[in-house]
């Protein structure tokens, strides 16, 4: 998986695709670091439009991202979750700590 980034004004959108699991670890981290370092971006959206599978290591990466984004005083939301992804997020009750749209 190669995540891509779209920047529209102060919103940075990380678009993921395919399987989001441990193999995406490095690419995801690099993309996120570039977005966090960008002072113009105030809101980060992780876009799951093209993600068909999500495992527990992906949940761990999201937790890490949330921590870093909070430290950089930006906001974070998970958007465009398909049913399979939504199910995983629901079982983990991530709705309690993430904004999911």
């Amino acid at each position: 998986m190669t995540p891509t980034v779209q920047i529209e004004g102060s919103v940075g959108r990380v678009i993921l695709s395919g399987q989001f699991d441990f193999s995406a670890h490095r690419e995801f981290r690099q993309v996120c670091e570039s977005i966090i370092a960008n002072a113009d971006i105030k809101e980060v959206l992780v876009d799951f439009q093209n993600v068909n599978y999500l495992d527990s290591s992906a949940l761990g990466m999201l937790l890490l991202l949330k921590e870093k984004i909070a430290a950089a005083s930006k906001t974070l939301a998970l958007v465009n979750c398909r049913d399979t992804v939504k199910q995983v997020l629901e079982i983990a009750c991530f709705g309690k700590i993430f904004t999911i749209r």
Binding site: D55, S56, G60, L64, E67, C93, K96
Partner: protein, 580 residues
């Protein structure tokens, strides 16, 4: 480079070795194949420039020997060939020589070839170093895995997993499992089963779940509730694991004496409750964040509680089981699991599910750790027997002697007084059980002592101080209502105290435990109640029900004093089988 030049013609030998030295290399010389081998053995040169036809031993013969002795180390051998030596040369290259250069030597070409070999040798050296490092890493990782596997085996304690009340199956995706199954019983014989799934699999996942075992076992043994255990486990994980690491957990408590099942699920797939016909009657879905993400006080640690009247089964599993895919990329899925469970007899349920799962995969490796637990409730014969014993109430105190009270000596005493403030947060009975565990004559009867202490304490607190009415429990949803009222009244409790005394009394050869519990409440008319104490059904429902009957069944004598807010219980520990 260190270059060995081999030639039987003195002039050529001199010419080539001087040229090699002029290029900045170190030249070694040999005048025939045998000498070449000797020098090679002593000096281990990086490269050999080898003549073909020589006395004593030819170049090709020597190069075969050198290649053989060099083994994994690559020593390039370049033949320096004269006209008419093509056959020998072809033969030599086939047997492992690396290159050749024609006589008379063109020094421009020789220089270029030496440079090329120099580059390849560097590359070769790097690859060898890297593969050595890789091999070291691999060995270290294997050793670490071995240590963690040992640690897990020790901490998971498979002995306790051999419990007739449940079956389990755990199949790791790698040599280490990130899924964990643990089980233990409280002093009151409630069965606690822990099913945990750490992030990922292999070493790191296994490390994630390890911190859970210690609070699980030690707190269960002391009789803590699953809420208390979860609080501690979450705190422990937050303390030891880095951000981004968490553990999905199901904690199940089956209390056959009380007829309740408690289930708490955080991040695990829905737990299925089946009836006797093995049909799903209830589903306990995850309603909490996995452990390790937020502080313990932000979690809702109150379990789902089921008061069962009929026997049934609890089925808990990790996502690795239902999400496992076969060669056609099809998921095993929950319907298949429930299907196989519904089609088999009681004891065969798990075994059948396991067989059908493996048939489905048909040799394909599952990518995540797989775990499955099938626990039974409402079928424990032992608990049913306790019920019967509770009915058979009789005072056996006289069997010892009438002058017991006069002659018995107190060998130890443990007293505890708690006022309203402490009662709100001190978990009294587990706290006292850690003392009871240390008393040698009681260690093997902890379970009895725990039951008696719990009943007496609950009576003193619920009815003595909180003035709760047990009649609420008989209404529909009464138990939930009762517990809600209890929690509310306890939180608002301003006055009152409870005294607990444990005494070890020695009388002749016997050692009797005396337990005294006194509360500051109003008490009840015990003289009236005791006349009809032969059956627990006629006990005043306001004060006590089956609890006190259970205490009577376990002890020699139960004696109420004063207003009825003080009770003394004499308990004779059964002989300790371990000392005989």
């Amino acid at each position: 480079m260190k270059i060995l030049v081999v030639d039987d013609t003195e002039a050529i030998l001199l010419l080539i070795s001087r040229f090699v030295e002029a290029l900045g290399h170190q030249a070694l010389i040999a005048r025939n194949g045998q000498e070449a081998i000797n020098v090679w053995r002593q000096e281990q040169p990086d490269l050999v420039l080898m003549d073909v036809m020589m006395p004593v031993m030819s170049g090709p013969e020597a190069s075969v020997q050198i290649k053989a002795e060099a083994g994994a180390t690559w020593v390039p051998i370049v033949f320096v060939t004269g006209v008419g030596e093509e056959n020998a040369l072809a033969d030599a290259i086939e047997r492992g020589a690396d290159d050749y250069i024609n006589k008379p030597v063109n020094f421009r070409v020789l220089e270029a070839k030496l440079k090329a070999f120099g580059r390849t040798l560097d590359l070769n050296r790097k690859v060898r170093e890297q593969s050595q490092t890789l091999a070291d890493y691999y060995e270290r990782a294997e050793e670490e895995k071995r240590v963690v596997r040992h640690l897990m085996d020790q901490m998971v304690n498979s002995e306790r997993l051999a419990d007739p009340q449940f079956d389990y199956w755990l199949s790791p995706a790698e040599s280490l499992s990130g899924d964990l199954i643990a089980a233990a019983r409280t002093p009151g014989q409630a069965l606690h089963i822990l099913l945990a799934d750490g992030i990922g699999h292999g070493l790191t996942a296994a490390l994630n779940v390890l911190p859970l075992t210690q609070p699980f076992y030690s707190m269960t043994e002391k009789g803590y509730s699953i809420t208390d255990i979860l609080f501690e486990m979450n705190a422990k994980i937050r303390q030891v694991l880095p951000i981004g690491r968490f553990v999905c957990v199901s904690l199940i408590s089956i209390d056959e004496v009380g007829g309740t099942v408690e289930i708490w699920n955080a991040g695990m797939p829905p737990i299925q409750i089946l009836d006797q016909q093995r049909q799903v009657v209830r589903v306990c879905s995850s309603s909490n964040l996995p452990l390790g993400i937020v502080p313990s006080h932000s979690l809702d640690l109150v379990p789902e509680r089921i008061y069962y009247k009929q026997p049934g089964y609890i089925v808990a599993y990790s996502d690795g089981l239902i999400e496992a895919r076969n060669a056609d990329k099809l998921e095993f899925g929950l319907p298949a699991l429930l299907g196989s469970l519904s089609q088999s007899d009681d004891r065969q349920m798990l075994a059948r599910a396991q067989t059908e799962f493996l048939q489905f995969l048909d040799g394909e490796q599952h990518h995540d750790d797989v775990s499955l637990v099938v626990a039974r409730f409402g079928m424990d014969v032992q608990a049913a027997k306790t019920e019967l014993e509770v009915q058979a109430v009789e005072a056996r105190f006289d069997e010892i002697s009438a002058d017991f009270n006069l002659l018995a000596e107190c060998s130890w005493r443990y007293s505890l007084i708690l006022s309203a403030h402490e009662l709100r947060y001190v978990n009294t009975i587990p706290f006292m059980m850690s003392f009871v565990k240390e008393i040698k004559s009681l260690a093997h009867v902890q379970s009895d002592v725990f039951l008696i202490l719990t009943e007496l304490f609950v009576n003193a607190l619920d009815h003595g101080l909180l003035l709760l009415d047990s009649a609420i429990k008989t209404q529909p949803d009464g138990m939930e209502e009762y517990l809600a009222q209890r929690a509310e009244r306890l939180a608002n409790l301003q006055e009152g105290r409870i005294e607990i005394d444990l005494m070890g009394l020695k009388y002749k050869d016997a050692e009797v435990l005396k337990i005294r519990v006194k509360d500051s409440g109003e008490g009840f008319d015990w003289s009236n109640a005791s006349q009809t104490s032969a059956s627990h059904t006629v006990h005043p429902s306001t004060a006590f029900g089956r609890g006190i009957s259970l205490v009577r069944a376990l002890s020699l004598k139960v004696q109420f004093n004063g207003l009825g807010n003080e009770v003394e219980v004499y308990y004779l520990p059964a002989a300790n089988p371990a000392t005989h």
